[in-house]
């Protein structure tokens, strides 16, 4: 690389780069993958979730969120906030305890790990002696009681983690006083539960695995009362008045014990779903109400044989008894209570299940679900594609919100009950939409303007087609008089009825409200936004992309059956036109031009142009190489049956797992062992040599005809004096096709046909797949979107100077002149560093120094997981940062870029990571959590879950968008300027 540097210019450019570009991973949207622990601080009104990968996430009011990651790659098994403080303790799978705090720094809080601790036993003691199984954060805020597998309770001073050996409660001390007639006295087993007396902080109850509970006086260091339960203990709850202790057991029973100070043998046991053997009740909570009977909530306890695979929480209040049936395994739950001290009636039940967070309004009739403003499961059906639209006009925004609100009538009207912290982030500068396409044929619209990825509207395309939906699936829904009284809650439903419905490509025109959606079975729907419900037939048009190419046989799925009768579509986006490709291969490229009323699409066989005003095909072009047999094979036709069998085996696993549940030490050890074995196997696999063939690409390679990108441009295709509408398509084999389009004048648009004629064909010599095509105007700026100029939102492109064509292949960026196509400049990527372009977008970067300077650039994500910014129109590498792990193929494939230099990619099936390359456009959480004022006496309130009075709290509204809605459109005029 010989390059003559002119020093002054170089450094000036470097400074400019610093003003334009910076890389930040800002926030994670969605639901944490594999949550493993839940904690809640009533005083802070903050919720904490720990995950299997060692992450800890805190959430309060919408926009208030913090994230921390343990250095150890171990699962978080427990999270406990220290009462009335901003500290929290996490227990990991590797038996280490970690102290975290929310420290205010420059007016913002940040989550910091401030200490770590591992219990050390006496020399020679087995590790089980110090293996922590139960944690109690004492209401004094100074003590941590740690129950272990060995049956001991260690007392540790916090936040410094100083062991107070003299206060430890050893198993021997307890065992000596156990009544002789207690059958389990020889082996009390591990400490299963630790609870503090709500009215007397000196008393704690220690529950042992074998069933025995001991009320211990911390002051006097002696047992006050023994509760001789005989069933394996699962959890313990001390009622608020301190008068009773509830215990739940592995046989599905719970017992209520009076706290009298004397040992009693009377066991008042109840098996709520009794007679036949039941599964364990893993957690039980009883909460009083001001008037009337208390709330009793417990998880599990279902009859083993008939409903052993359900994930249920039972809520009993007075005559109402509901078994809430969740979509996945229950991790933990807690309740939120009314009142300034959070000691009033329970207002909401918050349940963390493996795939979502469900909040139930306990004060509204029917206990409806409250819609969560964050932690929404993105993967309620697997995400198959995403599409980002920046700077949505207010009008469209409001209409989408209105359509969405009509869908959400079953949600509770109550505001979001978790309101901790203050969101100090500035209002988002514009309204951004993220559209996610899903496997079940739905498209979800998310408000991606701010820190909270808020669900706005859900669109289903399945209604257009006849699907072989399993009618039995809906039969399970609660029949009258069913026992237990199930009620399904939650929205996680990963099972798609028909994989052909999967959404593969989305394109939304934000100005006209036209939307096009393409799917797995070659279907392309054109939809328009309608505020009224409408009953209409969707006109289907079959497009034969083979165009007489012979000798092929499609072995994949058939195309979807269209409903011929009119279908009632709810308000929102309603389909009015449908194109079905033949062969029905997955649609690989899609674009819509709302001004010309055209939709262009491509598959592995060719591409087509559809006029959605006249509802007919304008152009069909087969790109198939006659020798390419593989393209005809289609996806495996077994896909569907595999899915079904997967579904069954998942259910089997789930069934068998439920009995194995819990954090028991043996299991953890076994898991570690299995992990080690797996690692060894993986290492061995890596030793086997992997070979790669070095061969030049040829036109005979498979899938060379696959259309990777399709693009509309008004440019100089044939002569340099008249610009014409044009269509561009790029294939996997490095070929670019250009067609000149002839549109009838507007007044005859409905009658006269649109025509397309071939104009150019470019075969790139390096034959790498073409992943992007952009036409640059006379100033070197990318052409604006259709209607953008008409809406005065972009400066009209320079049509005087000569236009340039930028072809982005996986390996190179190449600029050609127009109308005569000759190479002008290029940037090689693969030949230089071996990385290939995976995702590409055009973005505008504003300078953080001067308000009016900015430039357009290409944002590129490579197969190595690096993001690059490439300047336009000079195609020079500007900056590059590592972004995604290179092994994370699905993360790289899921990446979408915004028009302002941000991006999203999936870090798990349920979470988007948001990143920013721009100095000006950064959306990140900025929030403050203040230390609650500590009341003098701690006797007055429930010490453990319910804390002290909270500080003065600013409660922001659920809608972060309010301000943005009022913002002036014209402020964003500069977006497309260069």
């Amino acid at each position: 690389m010989k390059r003559f540097r002119r020093h002054g210019q170089e450094s000036q450019r470097d400074r400019l780069k610093q003003e334009l570009f910076q890389f930040n991973k800002t926030v994670e949207h969605g639901f944490p993958h594999q949550p493993s622990a839940l904690g809640y601080s009533p005083s802070l009104q903050l919720l904490a979730i720990g995950t299997r990968s060692g992450a800890i996430k805190l959430y309060g009011a919408p926009g208030v969120e913090f994230m921390g990651l343990h250095d150890e790659n171990a699962a978080v098994t427990q999270v406990h906030f220290l009462p009335c403080q901003v500290e929290l303790v996490t227990l990991l799978d590797d038996n280490s305890l970690h102290m975290w705090t929310l420290r205010a720094h420059k007016g913002l809080s940040e989550l910091l790990e401030i200490g770590r601790f591992t219990l050390t036993g006496p020399p020679g003691a087995p590790p089980s002696v110090t293996r922590v199984t139960a944690v109690l954060a004492h209401s004094s805020g100074e003590l941590l009681l740690l129950g272990t597998e060995g049956g001991h309770v260690f007392v540790v001073e916090v936040p410094g983690f100083r062991e107070l050996e003299e206060r430890n409660i050893s198993l021997d001390q307890v065992a000596s006083s156990v009544p002789d007639d207690y059958i389990g006295r020889r082996n009390l087993e591990h400490v299963e539960a630790l609870q503090e007396n709500p009215v007397n902080p000196n008393q704690v109850v220690i529950g042992y695995g074998r069933g025995l509970m001991v009320i211990w006086d911390l002051e006097r260091q002696c047992a006050v009362q023994h509760i001789p339960a005989t069933q394996q203990l699962e959890s313990v709850w001390w009622t608020e008045d301190g008068g009773y202790i509830l215990s739940s057991h592995s046989d599905g029973s719970y017992c209520q014990w009076m706290v009298s100070g004397e040992d009693e043998d009377e066991e008042k046991s109840d098996i709520p779903y009794g007679h036949f053997p039941c599964k364990a009740i893993s957690k039980i909570v009883q909460l009083p109400t001001e008037e009337g009977p208390p709330f009793l909530l417990f998880s599990g306890g279902m009859p083993r044989a008939s409903y052993g695979d359900r994930h249920c929480i039972t809520v009993i209040h007075s005559k109402t008894h509901v078994a809430l049936d969740f979509t996945s395994r229950i991790i933990d739950f807690f309740t939120i209570r009314d009142g300034p001290q959070h000691t009033g009636d329970p207002s909401a039940l918050v349940v963390l299940v493996e795939e979502e967070l469900v909040v139930i309004d306990l004060q509204t009739e029917g206990w409806p679900v409250i819609q969560t403003p964050y932690l929404v499961p993105l993967h309620s059906s697997a995400i198959t594609c995403s599409h980002h639209v920046s700077a949505i006009p207010l009008k469209l925004w409001e209409r989408v919100i209105a359509a969405g609100e009509l869908q959400n009538t079953h949600y509770s009207k109550k505001p979001w009950p978790i309101t901790g912290g203050q969101n100090l982030a500035p209002d988002p500068p514009q309204r951004d939409l993220l559209l996610t396409g899903h496997e079940d044929g739905t498209v979800r619209f998310w408000d991606a303007s701010g820190v909270c990825l808020y669900p706005m509207y859900k669109l289903s395309t399945a209604g257009v087609f006849h699907t072989d939906a399993d009618p039995n699936d809906n039969m399970n829904q609660g029949t009258e008089g069913e026992w237990p009284p199930f009620r399904k809650v939650g929205c996680f439903d990963p099972y798609s009825d028909d994989p052909r419905l999967g959404v593969q490509k989305i394109h939304l025109c934000k100005y006209s409200g036209y939307l096009t959606i393409a799917g797995t079975a070659g279907q392309i729907l054109v939809l328009e936004l309608n505020d009224e419900a409408a009953e209409q037939t969707v006109e289907a048009k079959v497009v034969d992309l083979l165009q007489g190419q012979e000798g092929f046989r499609w072995k994949g799925h058939t195309r979807l059956d269209v409903r011929e009768e009119p279908v009632l579509f709810p308000p929102g986006f309603q389909p009015f036109a449908l194109v079905q490709c033949q062969p029905p291969a997955v649609v690989t490229a899609l674009t819509l031009h709302s001004e010309w009323k055209l939709v262009a699409f491509g598959t592995s066989h060719g591409f087509g142009l559809y006029d959605y005003q006249q509802k007919n095909n304008v152009l069909i072009k087969c790109t198939l190489n006659p020798t390419d047999q593989l393209a005809m094979e289609g996806p495996l036709s077994r896909v569907k049956s595999i899915k079904k069998s997967l579904r069954q085996s998942f259910r089997r696993i789930r069934r068998s797992r439920v009995s194995l549940r819990k954090h028991h030490v043996h299991n953890a050890a076994k898991l570690q062992e299995a992990n080690a074995r797996l690692e060894a196997e993986l290492a061995e696999m890596e030793l086997a040599p992997v070979q790669r063939k070095i061969e030049a690409r040829s036109s005979d390679d498979s899938f060379t005809g696959l259309v990777r990108t399709i693009y509309f441009a008004d440019t100089f295709l044939s002569d340099s004096s008249h610009s014409t509408p044009s269509l561009w398509a790029g294939t996997n084999g490095g070929c670019v096709f250009a067609y000149m389009l002839r549109l009838p004048p507007v007044e005859h648009r409905a009658e006269e046909p649109v025509t397309a004629q071939p104009a150019k064909e470019i075969q790139l010599m390096h034959r790498a797949p073409v992943v992007g095509i952009v036409v640059l105007d006379g100033h070197g700026a990318p052409l604006p979107e259709p209607l953008e100029v008409a809406h005065d939102l972009a400066r009209s492109p320079d049509m005087q100077g000569s236009h340039h064509l930028l072809v982005i292949s996986e390996e190179q960026f190449k600029v050609f002149t127009l109308p005569k196509v000759s190479a002008k400049m290029k940037l090689k990527l693969t030949a230089v560093d071996g990385s290939r372009v995976r995702r590409v977008g055009v973005a505008w970067f504003g300078s953080n120094r001067s308000e009016d300077y900015g430039e357009s650039g290409l944002v590129v994500l490579t197969n190595q997981g690096d993001v690059h910014v490439v300047s336009l129109p000079t195609v020079k590498m500007q900056v590059h940062y590592p972004c995604v792990r290179r092994e994370d193929v699905s993360g790289i494939a899921s990446c979408v870029f915004t028009k302002h230099g941000q991006g999203f990619y999936l870090i798990s099936p349920s979470e988007f990571e948001r990143f920013s390359l721009s100095t000006r456009c950064v959306v990140e959480p900025r929030c403050l959590v203040e230390v609650p004022l500590h009341p003098g006496s701690s006797n007055k309130h429930r010490p453990q879950p319910d804390g002290a009075s909270s500080a003065h709290r600013y409660v922001p509204s659920v809608r972060v968008m309010e301000h943005a809605l009022l913002n002036d459109e014209s402020e964003y005029l500069r977006d497309e300027e260069l």
Partner: protein, 406 residues
């Protein structure tokens, strides 16, 4: 100069008798055996005596064994002069219409076979297939060893020319580990190795690459720290003109440089960065001058360095479809395959052209194409390819030529 006189053979100690044949014409002259001059002077002389100043010629001579051998540089010209006894028979041809090949037995082949058939005597020459000597322009580079002067002797930089070649590149690479010399001693580091050769592939046929050779660089970029997939992609991206630097597993066939042996041998097994310096130093000290520019130039390089920089992949193909609008359906069906066939003649043309100056070859695909030879398409082609331009020029000259040689 026009010395067409016959000279007795026994007097020809100092002069060489030359009989030159071009078409049906003969010219005779003599040359001084002790001062033959240079080839280009000789070539000029031939053009002069035959009065064909602008015709490009192929010069061949019949050697003592009756083989037709080429004269196209100083070396074989001098050889021809020195072996002429006493007559030097020359055969001249227009370059573009050469119809006979150089090689052993090329002139006497027919006679020999007749003779041997008559005499029924086993001819030792018959067993050996005749050696054919092709002209440089008939060669296509397949591979070369380059940069011998700047690389340590333990390394080899091989250039594979895939371009315009039907043979597959044909090799596989794998991960492996190699040993490097570092200040801390020997260190095991990951490396990329050639794992397999495809029989009959380009890589195998060159003989310059072998299984277990360690790949150090691809087109000048070090592969250290890059994954197997990255290196694969780099090689494929450069496949039209692939330059790979290897450390051959078999170090016995290395290029041995005079005087540099000591340094090179010592660094035989060490790492690249350390030993390139060592051997380089050893070499230049023997040469007596430190500056790399003054190194002796026994470089094994078949092609000028400038060609390395050439970007052959720039030659993307653009097909312009202009003219009348056709019905779209028909256009789309008859556009894809026939058009591919149509531009084939141009492809051939471009391969033959030695210096295509335009980086993008534009071919007008409206109407008829050069294959049909219509004037319209010809003029199109002229504007794009200078070599074709020259060819046409030649054709017109040839016509003149026939007039001259009457």
């Amino acid at each position: 100069m026009n010395k067409n006189h016959r000279v007795p053979s026994n007097r020809s100690l100092s002069a060489v008798e030359v009989k030159s044949k071009f078409g049906a014409e003969f010219r005779r002259f003599s040359l001084d055996r002790s001062k033959p001059g240079r080839f280009d002077e000789f070539y000029g002389l031939l053009q002069h005596v035959h009065r064909i100043p602008n015709v490009e010629l192929l010069v061949g001579y019949a050697d003592v064994h009756g083989d037709l051998l080429p004269i196209n540089n100083d070396d074989n010209y001098h050889k021809a002069i020195s072996t002429a006894s006493p007559l030097l028979r020359l055969f001249l041809q227009r370059k573009e219409e050469a119809d006979y090949t150089f090689g052993t037995n090329s002139l006497t082949r027919k006679k020999n076979t007749v003779l041997s058939a008559v005499l029924l005597r086993p001819d030792p020459n018959r067993k050996k297939p005749p050696v054919i000597i092709s002209l440089p322009r008939d060669f296509r580079p397949v591979s070369s060893i380059i940069d011998v002067d700047i690389l340590p002797e333990t390394h080899r930089r091989v250039r594979l020319y895939k371009h315009g070649q039907e043979k597959p590149l044909g090799f596989y690479i794998r991960d492996g580990s190699s040993v490097r010399v570092t200040p801390q001693g020997l260190e095991k580091v990951p490396g990329i190795f050639i794992s397999r050769m495809v029989p009959g592939g380009l890589a195998e046929s060159t003989g310059l690459l072998a299984v277990n050779d360690e790949v150090l660089e691809v087109n000048g970029i070090e592969v250290a720290g890059k994954s197997l997939d990255q290196v694969t992609d780099m090689m494929i991206a450069n496949s039209h003109n692939l330059i790979i630097t290897v450390k051959p597993a078999n170090q016995r066939n290395n290029v041995v440089r005079s005087g540099g042996g000591g340094g090179g041998a010592a660094s035989g097994s060490s790492g690249r960065s350390s030993d390139s310096g060592a051997s380089y130093y050893g070499y230049s000290s023997h040469g007596g001058v430190g500056a790399p520019a003054s190194m002796p130039s026994h470089i094994i390089q078949n092609f000028p360095v400038g060609e390395l920089e050439s970007d052959e992949d720039d030659e993307d193909l653009v097909i312009e479809a202009g003219g009348e609008a056709e019905p779209i359906r028909r256009a789309s069906s008859n556009y894809s395959m026939p058009s591919l066939l149509r531009y084939e003649p141009h492809l051939n043309l471009r391969v033959a052209a030695t210096s295509t100056s335009t980086s993008t070859l534009s071919i007008n695909a409206n109407g008829t194409l050069p294959a049909s030879g219509s004037s319209g398409s010809l003029s199109n082609a002229i504007s794009t390819t200078p070599s074709l331009d020259r060819a046409i020029e030649r054709r017109s000259l040839e016509e003149d030529g026939t007039v001259i040689t009457l």
